[in-house]
Symmetry: C2
Subunit: 248 residues, 2 copies
């Protein structure tokens, strides 16, 4: 439900790009606003007595059931042009909101973009919000039409995520606790949308010094079972904070 | 002057951390609010008919006279606790603002942080705004007390700038058009606040492939004149956009 608009920070919204990874496929979680042809990013507003980052965590939790997920604030979208004339009329016509909310939705909004990357099989039942009729994972490369500037927000999130891999690790909460080097490489290839050289990948990843090699092997396959690794969580989190490169 | 508050986006402000580099020293441009003991970051509000990024450029230009400077939006500070009870009373007591602005300033504000790095000798006369009595460069390591959460904003900007050097070049607009490798290294050392190994620095910097070696030499010194470089601007800007590392 949209809370009492008197309790909300005016002109400020949140949009979350929730990337889902599963079996080497990248998808994004979208909502279908009631009676609309377009889909939309999950989002929300900011209560005046709540921290903005806390509200973003709440959006993620309400749609996915997940918390304790790394959610990155990546950009404030603040262009005047993102507020479209006629958009609120359409929301009212479609029965998404009633007339009493016209004034609230007709403000100029700036929106803070967040992105998260989750293992999407962990999201048992993606949950629509009160103004939506559906909530689904959609493949990044076969997206439906998105409303307002949500496609631009999504594209920028993916660009920022790819760029972040130059200097930050990913994998924690996405891979099983123990994983092989090919599994980690497949995750990177999926997010980066390109193939990587096996030996280079292994060399660089080991040089980052965030992996712990275990004595365990996965059994059952026909081939020689691969070495399994786990993340050194302390070093992993330090790399998130300060960057992977000790470039200088 | 503070514009008609009816024309401003409610509850939204901008704060700019303007780093200045000159002769291997890093400073930050601060304002002295009228009759206050603390100093503050240059900032402003967002007109409802203006893009947020445009307003940040205006703040930078009004304080420094500079435009066409790379200004990076780095974080939205959105915690409730940043709004201090009593702060507006003090502003009114000090004669910074009059009673008619009490309501405007008493809102909960979230603020968007931007940082810029400029060659500070290019800033001919740092200019206070209408609620300030002074505008000065202050050394990063000998800062006066800052008001509200401005010290936290400044610290985070510096952290982000240092981290950005893992994956982005700096130097354009900060160094003369032609510069030597030791001059570039000195810039990095100043921003990173640590000494770097000369040979490693040179090797890595050349590997980034953003420098053009020129045939010119600087004359006049007693020693062998160093090789002078300039930035390959196309590659430089591409590296800003996509990152320096072709890590993957």
């Amino acid at each position: 439900m949209i809370p009492n608009t008197n309790e909300l920070h005016p002109g400020l919204s949140i949009d979350c790009v929730i990337f889902g990874f599963h079996e080497n496929e990248l998808k994004v979680l979208l909502l279908k606003p009631k009676n609309d042809d377009c889909w939309a990013l999950p989002g929300g507003f900011v209560k005046t007595d709540q921290d903005v980052d806390t509200e973003a965590v709440r959006v993620l939790k309400n749609r996915t059931g997940l918390d304790d997920i790394f959610l990155k604030q990546f950009y404030l979208f603040g262009n005047v042009s993102r507020n479209k004339a006629g958009h609120v009329d359409k929301m009212i016509e479609n029965g998404m909101i009633d007339e009493s909310l016209r004034e609230w939705f007709s403000q100029r909004f700036v929106t803070i973009g967040y992105y998260a990357l989750v293992e999407y099989s962990q999201v048992k039942s993606p949950t629509p919000d009160d103004v939506s009729e559906d909530c689904q994972w959609k493949p990044l490369h076969d997206l439906p039409e998105l409303w307002l500037d949500h496609y631009e927000i999504l594209k920028r999130a993916h660009h920022d995520l790819k760029k972040a891999l130059n200097d930050q690790p990913i994998g924690l909460n996405l891979l099983p606790e123990l994983f092989s080097m090919p599994e980690l490489q497949a995750l990177y290839e999926t997010v980066l949308e390109k193939e990587l050289d096996r030996r280079n990948f292994r060399r660089k990843m080991l040089a980052y010094d965030i992996l712990i090699q275990t004595d365990e092997r996965r059994t059952g396959g026909a081939h020689k079972p691969p070495i399994l690794y786990k993340f050194d969580k302390e070093k992993y989190h330090k790399a998130i904070e300060n960057g992977l490169q000790s470039a200088w």
